[in-house]
């Protein structure tokens, strides 16, 4: 199970989350997004970039509410709301956006 990024293979698990987080790249994000049938636009990238920054600081993805609050500040309330997040990432801003951002899947009762 691997993604092919310009001839380089990047391993992923059964659900498509990459196993070695350091192998993430923007090209890979586009490939994962395509597999998820998500077309990456400016707003998608704002979410992915925030997730990656947050992860770098805290080693875990943020609560959805924290993500939305930040996006609301940077891109306004039309983008920074729960409903719109699900339009951007239909399988959820936590799980699907994390997968594209190359972060581990949030586990537990979530």
């Amino acid at each position: 199970m691997a993604y092919d990024v310009n001839g380089t293979t990047v391993e992923h698990d059964e659900e498509g989350y990459i196993t070695n987080l350091s192998e993430w790249s923007r090209e890979l994000a586009d490939i994962i997004a395509a597999a998820e049938e998500v077309e990456m636009g400016e707003e998608h990238w704002a979410v992915v970039n925030f997730l990656r920054d947050y992860y770098e600081e805290y080693q875990i993805a943020p609560a959805v509410r924290v993500l939305i609050k930040s996006i609301k500040k940077s891109m306004g309330p039309e983008v920074g709301n729960n409903k719109y997040m699900y339009e951007l990432f239909p399988y959820g801003p936590a799980k699907q956006a994390c997968k594209i951002a190359g972060l581990p899947k949030p586990t537990g009762c979530v």
Partner: protein, 520 residues
């Protein structure tokens, strides 16, 4: 009222009766295999990494060991008379039509093997008594169908012998883990909770940042400093809540509700970063050792922080373990204040405050919702609240009615002790089982649809993290919005007016002369 598109093309079809018996579809779910644990997930919990060579021998010995050690388990295996009372009581059978999802058939997967090796008739005349050898095919069948049981125990309510399929399903998972065939979802999570302290893997730094962020939200909303303290030594109350309450929607709103109640009660309280999880997945895999490891973290946190009381947040399986087993697993709790229940449920805490008249509610704040309540399986069956029989049914309803004007129960055969599972409990809340989760939720969603039609119900409240996540994922498949599921303490928080809180002047809706609609 929610806009309903209940018979959308390709979507699940509603039937008039939530408990209607489906047409049989033999083998419909036989290929549904939950992801198998990676070697590391298993070894982290002390199980073999992969299926061991002599798995058959070890598994058979383990069945004998469990039957010897756990008399209930042996009685469950020996006493079934095939009366059929349980056959149509499982939501997964109702939703899938697969006869192997009938509780008796699920039990027989293991019972047939037990008979072969541990009964006289099964040893000498296996075919006559339906006894089977433990083959690789049987093991695979166990894996698939014991991961289609949410251990909700609805069937046990209807069994004249009280046979508890959940116990058999837990034992089956325990046996499978002992030979290296674990499930990824549960085992990965237990390992995380045993090392980091919670199922999410939320470390103390991230937890602190999240809670501080939420405190800001509370201050913006109320104008008051409503705290969510973390690791505060000397607090009176230690709150043990599912880590989903720090992460997911609508769970977080429940946490904000607890914070407001504690604030208004004037009680000092704290969350612990060391024991930042209520849900005990050790129960799902029938592992006493893992259940104990997780429970001991709670004891340790209570001792380290010097608290006097332990209160559990909204989490179904947590409450089952806490209410029924915490003292056995991690007691005695003689260092806590014996004047309070040990442990106590947040619902008991809030209910008590309401009884004393110490919470001031503006119920109109919840007038946008027409509510029903989903009894979570492990709270409804196998635990209690309020210190009297049936308290676990009454307290949440009384709390809801204290803070909401429009409340309606679902069909009596689908609530309280007969409640239907949400479809995602017992270690099944994982994406690869979404088809099963959706089908298993259909009886509950049908019961909700009835109250939507009869009373205009728009939202459902629950007190379990799994139920909340499950419903937010499956409700859209049944024509409801994903936010049609709410935390009970979210509604408490919405309506609670804190002492000293500045009230926004809403244009008040016309309420004079409108009767309060509450049924029971």
């Amino acid at each position: 009222m929610a806009s309903l598109d209940i018979n959308a093309e390709g979507g699940p079809k509603f039937v008039a009766d939530p408990l209607a018996v489906p047409q049989l579809k033999c083998g419909a779910m036989e290929d549904l295999e939950s992801y198998v644990a990676h070697p590391k997930h298993n070894t982290d919990l002390g199980f073999p990494g992969e299926l061991i060579d002599n798995w058959q021998e070890v598994a058979i010995a383990k069945i004998g060991e469990l039957a010897e050690k756990n008399r209930a388990f042996q009685v469950y295996l020996d006493s079934c008379v095939k009366c059929g009372a349980c056959t149509d009581k499982c939501h997964y059978f109702l939703g899938t039509g697969d006869p192997k999802n009938m509780p008796v058939a699920r039990q027989d997967l293991l019972r047939s093997v037990y008979r072969r090796y541990y009964t006289f008739a099964g040893k000498y005349f296996p075919k006559l008594v339906g006894a089977r050898d433990l083959t690789k095919e049987v093991l695979d069948e166990w894996y698939n169908y014991y991961h289609q049981c949410s251990q909700c125990r609805r069937c046990s309510v209807f069994c004249p012998y009280g046979i508890d399929t959940a116990e058999i399903s837990m034992a089956a998972r325990d046996i499978m883990n002992s030979v290296g065939k674990g499930q990824k979802y549960c085992n990965e999570i237990i390992a995380k909770a045993s090392t980091v302290g919670n199922n999410l893997g939320l470390n103390p730094k991230a937890l602190r940042a999240t809670l501080e962020d939420l405190e800001e939200d509370l201050e913006d909303e109320t104008g008051l400093s409503v705290r969510i303290p973390l690791d505060e030594t000397g607090a009176d109350v230690l709150l043990i809540t599912p880590s989903a309450d720090f992460f997911a929607e609508p769970h977080i709103d429940g946490l904000l509700g607890y914070a407001k109640v504690f604030h208004e009660a004037g009680v000092s309280w704290t969350v612990s970063s060391y024991a930042s999880e209520a849900a005990n997945f050790g129960m799902f895999i029938g592992s006493y050792e893992n259940m104990r490891t997780l429970s001991l973290r709670i004891r340790q946190a209570a001792e380290d922080l010097g608290v006097k009381r332990i209160v559990f947040g909204e989490c179904g399986h947590a409450w089952r373990v806490a209410y029924s087993f915490l003292n056995t697993l991690a007691g005695p709790f003689d260092f806590l204040d014996q004047n309070y229940p040990i442990p106590q449920h947040i619902m008991e805490f809030t209910h008590d405050m309401i009884q004393k008249g110490e919470l001031n509610f503006d119920k109109s704040k919840n007038d946008e919702f027409r509510l029903t309540y989903h009894d979570s399986c492990n709270v409804a069956r196998g635990s209690g609240m309020g210190g009297y029989e049936g308290g676990q049914f009454d307290l949440p309803r009384e709390v809801l009615k204290a803070c909401c004007n429009n409340y309606f129960d679902m069909d009596r055969d689908t609530i309280k002790e007969s409640t239907l599972c949400c479809g995602g409990g017992g270690g099944l809340l994982t994406d690869e089982l979404m088809d099963l989760r959706t089908k298993g939720a259909s009886p509950r969603m049908t019961a909700m649809k009835q109250v939507t039609e009869d009373h205009g119900v728009t939202h459902m409240a629950a007190i379990c993290a799994i139920c909340k996540t499950q419903f937010s994922k499956v409700m859209p498949k049944f024509g409801y919005e994903m936010d049609s599921i709410l935390s009970v303490h979210q509604l408490v928080g919405n309506a609670l007016i804190l002492t000293g809180q500045e009230i926004e002047e809403d244009p008040a809706p016309e309420r004079d002369g409108v009767a309060t609609e509450v049924n029971s």
